[in-house]
Amino acid sequence: MIRLLRILGLLVLIAVVAVGVLFWIGRDRGATPAASVDLANLGPDQRQQMLERGRWVARAADCAACHTDPDGGSDLAGGLPMVTPMGSVYGTNITPSTEHGIGDYSADDLYRAVAQGVAPDGRNLYPAMPYPSYHRITRADSDALWLWLMQQRPVDKPNRPDDLMFPFNIRPAIAVWNALFRPEAEPFDPQGLENPQGEYLVDVLGHCGECHTPRNLAYALTDDHLAGEVIEGAYAPDLRPDALARRGWSGEDLVAFLHRGLSPQGVMTFRMFPVLSHSTSHLSEDDLSAIADYLADGTQLPGPQQRPPGGATAMDGHALYLGLCAGCHGDNGQGQPHSSVPLDTNTTAMYRDPLNLIRIIAEGIPERDLAQGERMQAMPAFGGMLSDQQMAELVNYLRERWGGRPGDVTTGAVTSVLERNESH
């Protein structure tokens, strides 16, 4: 018995030491590169150029996606909830308010927060702040961003405390997480890269992987870069070249999707819609082409494929489609410009996971001003008109007819998706 206790004691001691060491490592924020310019002595032209670059960085990095004020009025005043399995964290106020925002941040402070996930008081930021992606931001871009942020209108809006469950609400524990999962802050180096602009936009500023890359149990990004992940109740699809080719994307369509929010493959929905309005619709065609090229990674993307219907489609699903969907989407899924998307080239039915398809049919999509004058009328919610069994029949019909997927979605699977997402 005493022996057992001793062994146990030893194990506990080892664990405490290990956690302590990890904590120590994770507390170390790494080196902070020197400021790119003397920010106190900027000439007017240089200042103007930096402000423009800073605005570009803010857009490309989509700061507003999380830091926008859901009550309106400011894209940077914070308050938007981000729902994670561990609870909700809220975007913070990053306006230059000295009381509630980042008004007293130095350019060094901003770099450390963005690239290393550490606030000026040494507090660890939750990795909901995508510093694992931003860690490669260049110091020059961080400085330009700082200059731009400090020029924005301060909003004195207090931050909302996070509601994370124990033990995730112990901030110092993030140091341990950082030791294990935070990449070293190493500023982006374009040397020798084939498509530096695309890589910088996708992997660093655009932080696409934060939603599209699968996470492990510790909620850290895995090595399956951009392989698709369910996040905040929706599936963020696989963006690897083969998957894009299989779903009938072309480079041009990717550019159109990011530019206008719409392409033959579908329309921006769920958390991708704000990405359009805050970020991608403001990027230049060169930037968007670089993104598309980087995602394609040398693979020839063929564009929409005419595929034969995947086998005989069930009559029940067919009648539901004609009765409820065809009035807008057309008998053959051709859609109508600016009001309802084509379904014959749409990628939503092509995902193995039927989550997005079920949620869109059940919840509908609000009417939307997309970008560059493109818009879409509302899609009604059909949740109240379909039993779970009918939903499964309709979803299977769409998967078989246009998705190239088997009609294997069960009524039970529909029920569980709908129950899980009631709160969204």
């Binding site: 009648a319 004609l322 009765g323 409820l324 009035g327 807008c328 008998d331 009001s339 109240g384 008109m385």
Partner: protein, 188 residues
Amino acid sequence: MAGRINFTASINGQQVGPLDLPEDLMMVELLQEYLNLTGTRLSCGQGVCSACAIIVDDPEGGSRTVPACITGVAWLNGKTVRTIEGIAGRDEQGDPVPSPVQQAFLDHFSFQCSYCTPGFVNAATVLVERLERAPIPVEDVEDAILKALDPHICRCTGYVRYYQAVRDVILSTPGLTIGTVAAAERPA
């Protein structure tokens, strides 16, 4: 090439069919072109304006309106449907008597050209019937009306008179609300 379906339904209490119809026929076309029920209005044709709203009665789920322009006979097959022609009652002589909603719209001069009116009548009728089964607190009435009429577009009247008419019907019909009317009497 669309297939065909064998269609039956109860429309305004009358059995319709069996009819051999194109399977992709939209309901508004069946009503107007096959059944000569021309009261249902076609406007946008894409589910946005609700001019074409008809009522589907589901014994379990209750009644709801659906846009007849984009709802196909394939979905309405076998269902129980009411259109604007089925809303008014009849007196002993068999002459039509406006329903309370219809009468209120007349009393309040709710419409001008009337193109949107059948849709508004059907939406308000569904709301009143829902409140008969499940009354709501007086203070929630305004929100409930707004929610029910919100999808309906009217180009003539500015909505206020439709809104006031429905509010009148709900507050003056016993059993639709819980609580005192006084609270809701304050100006809208």
